[in-house]
Symmetry: D2
Subunit: 278 residues, 4 copies
């Protein structure tokens, strides 16, 4: 008996839940959880079920394909560790949080490597016996540097997610397209406020009373990809922007790790530059 995650994304029409649940019933599956959502504006149906049973997952997937409309996108996933690459620059908190969770066995993930444009974090990463690759951007233009990173990434097969744990460089369209819906970033503001560089300085200048962090998939437009998770904290006039930066770290790391967990557990649908999360 094994657990499977069934993810369905289709144009909405009557009878979808009936067709899926009758299939589960016919396969004698135990439904552990069931979540559905219909986006009426876009006429889209989303469903995530966790089922338990003695089945051939490919056969279940095929049966669902046969019974559901052609528009339906169907995945039957057997939970297993996903392969991730972490990219970082110099800050330790977001990376460190993931390393500790990984060490504690909290993440369904293998960390294949950590890539950085600086060597600073190497000492930390190597404690955990994880490869650390420094790819300096010194003396290189953006394309040249990115080429080197892409080359490095190509050495790792089956990368499920690339996690930007405060990687402080902008990625080009070429990079993003190569790993579409696979790059998870943490931006240190409650987007869409304070897009771009030094959001804490921007927040300080604006005199806001809350600051936050946003984890999102990366698309071609900087800080405009589908949002996965957001969190804020309250501040007051006594916070300079470096105080905000310090206090913001706790939110950043929690929000990034939360997004990563959601992705690893196959809980996120991406469409229309948004996410549906079960």
């Amino acid at each position: 008996m094994s657990q499977y995650r069934v993810l369905i994304h289709a144009n909405d029409e009557k009878g979808l839940v009936f067709k899926v649940s009758s299939t589960f019933y016919n396969y004698n599956l135990n439904i552990l959880s069931n979540s559905e959502f219909v986006d009426k504006e876009n006429n889209k149906f989303f469903m995530r079920s966790v089922v338990d049973g003695d089945i051939n997952p490919y056969e279940l997937q095929q049966t669902l394909k046969d019974i559901l409309p052609e528009s339906a996108n169907i995945e039957v996933i057997e939970p297993k560790k996903k392969n991730i690459i972490i990219m970082a620059t110099k800050e330790m908190h977001a990376l460190g949080d993931i390393l500790i969770r990984h060490e504690a066995g909290e993440l369904e993930a293998n960390i294949l490597a950590v890539i950085s444009n600086y060597s600073d974090l190497g000492s930390l990463v190597s404690k955990f016996n994880i490869p650390y690759v420094t790819i300096s951007h010194e003396g290189l233009d953006r394309a040249e540097h990115e080429n080197k990173v892409l080359e490095c990434l190509r050495e790792y097969k089956d990368i499920d997610y690339i996690v930007l744990a405060k990687y402080m460089r902008i990625l080009t369209a070429r990079f993003v397209e190569a790993y579409e819906d696979k790059i998870i970033n943490i931006h240190h503001s409650f987007l869409p406020a304070f897009i771009g560089a030094n959001p804490y300085k921007q927040a300080y200048d604006r005199g806001v009373k809350i600051i936050g962090a946003t984890s999102h998939f990366v698309n071609n437009n900087l800080d405009e990809g589908p949002i996965i998770s957001q969190e804020v904290i309250h501040i007051d006039h006594a916070y300079g922007w470096k105080d905000m930066q310090r206090k913001g770290k706790d939110v950043e790391k929690i929000v990034l790790s939360r997004a990563l967990k959601l992705a690893l557990e196959d809980r996120i649908f991406v469409y229309a530059n948004k996410t549906v999360i079960f």
Copy 2:
């Protein structure tokens, strides 16, 4: 074409979702939303669907009864205004919040009357052309006073909910049993902390850094009924207990009104001294 809320509560077994969704399909219903939950520990299944179609709701209910196991509790509800009685003492914030929402048309409710053991709130309530009944407890023991309140309540037929909007008197088992799962209270602490009298004073004495409020159904044990909603706010050492009381009012009124809305929209299942809320 009308909307109906279908609420199902049953012992869990395979095929429940299939049976319900096939019935919906056969009746050519459009599913507007669908929520399910299985409490594995207690083997209980909960489902709330909002459907849209040209049907006879009694027939749908009967069909579901025929197809589902005998243990299943099934309701097919056509949304309409529910009848509520508000009970209060002297404080205006929670009552006022409900009155304004009612005036704004935010609540699916008719307020039949406001009952209080003091006359203080009569001036406010009468502005809204809602009957205000003062039943003083002066010179009466608890049973005598409650008898008078129960007598008054009996004049109103079809009471769906009694809302205790800071009604500062304890109800006896007799009263509670007469309106089981129909009495919604707001307690001014994050229960189970600070059960009983003056929770803000208790919170002050304990030196907590958060205070809160809890809306719950009332059962025989004071402040121990099924919790519907809770919220907290942060405080610090500078708050005396009266400051907490003042600041707490905003949480109390929001949490009580939120619980009332959930009840009016048939979103709450009560079982095992807990709530399942969709």
Copy 3:
């Protein structure tokens, strides 16, 4: 024995706290609370004290002026009800919240009148025996309509604050300058995200996971004035923009009323398009 609020705003230099506290000591004042803040970047000093004693407040103010640097702005305020005008359009929640607080005696304020461009809220406001003035914008250009509003406002002397309780029209520079730092607005987003019209629709389109509200003083640039208070709530993919709007109301009203209370209690300093709040 009376209470006074002493507000000091000056260029920072050594000895300010010493000079103020020695003056309080010489006047034999009891300090009930004392808050200070130095903005090092702008070299500004802020102080708010609540003192208790048998003094002439004008004399105390003069003594502080004599002893403090010329740059210092000093106010000694005897707490009393401030005069406010509320402006609204059609929505009831923010206005209603203020009316109930006023009725409950929670606000140090006299509501002189409610002005609206529609008559819808008149029935509610008149329940509370507060003048309601409808100034329709129908058939008028912005300047013409605003002239009528300004004319109406001039009938009320000593307006301390104008509260825009979801007043859905843009004010011109001329209006804003006439009541500088006296107009408090509620914007239904966590500014600076979603400036301008229908922020909930914007939030929905962006796919954010939190929505919020911001109370701020109004200056010439729409939604860019000094922020007083902000609050957010979590949402998910199931929220359409009208659901956000509904849920957002609770945050809007609390955040606006909170800002109003801070202003009425003389707790806000405005400078550099920011607020210092004690």
Copy 4:
């Protein structure tokens, strides 16, 4: 020029701020921040100032002692790393969070050692070149085991704080008294709710809609010491107690690390079983 933290705790009387600020003025000190609080109920005065100047801290302390009432407790502290011992059992998240912060240079602390009753965390701790001491409780009664721990602690001089990072054993009065106001614990509930063992199980059984964590100093009564910081998260009916436990970890680690930072920065006054935090 050096920075000093000046902490004053005294019976309240008129002129305290004046006396302190005149002393600062006479010493030509620059006040970087100043916080005061008077507990009127207990007639206690608290003040924390950060000052900057070229002084002898012992002389400043002596001068303040001479000028302030005899009841005054005065500390002039030159910021430097404090010595801490961490005690843990098997869980990695709270300990890991502190280790990463320490590695990142976020904490004004030297971690002298980690002590555990199990060996499980040794592999993690040794990565950071911090001594790990396993003191098993197997076959020992509480007093015997605690004696061994106390013996071990005595080898470390000048312990400023002992941090219980999910140390799952109860300490006796003897232990607590030996390190009064020096032991910081994290309890996995919003105290005073769910004192004692397995608070998540208790929370699940009670059906609460929020769970939380509390950092506090340890005194003789289990979970009843002065609270430093608290935080909560929202949950719903779908959370089993193990889900709560998983989700609660993020709150626990943040709240414990926050309390530790406050202690290391000399921001906490303890009195009357409460804390004043600046």
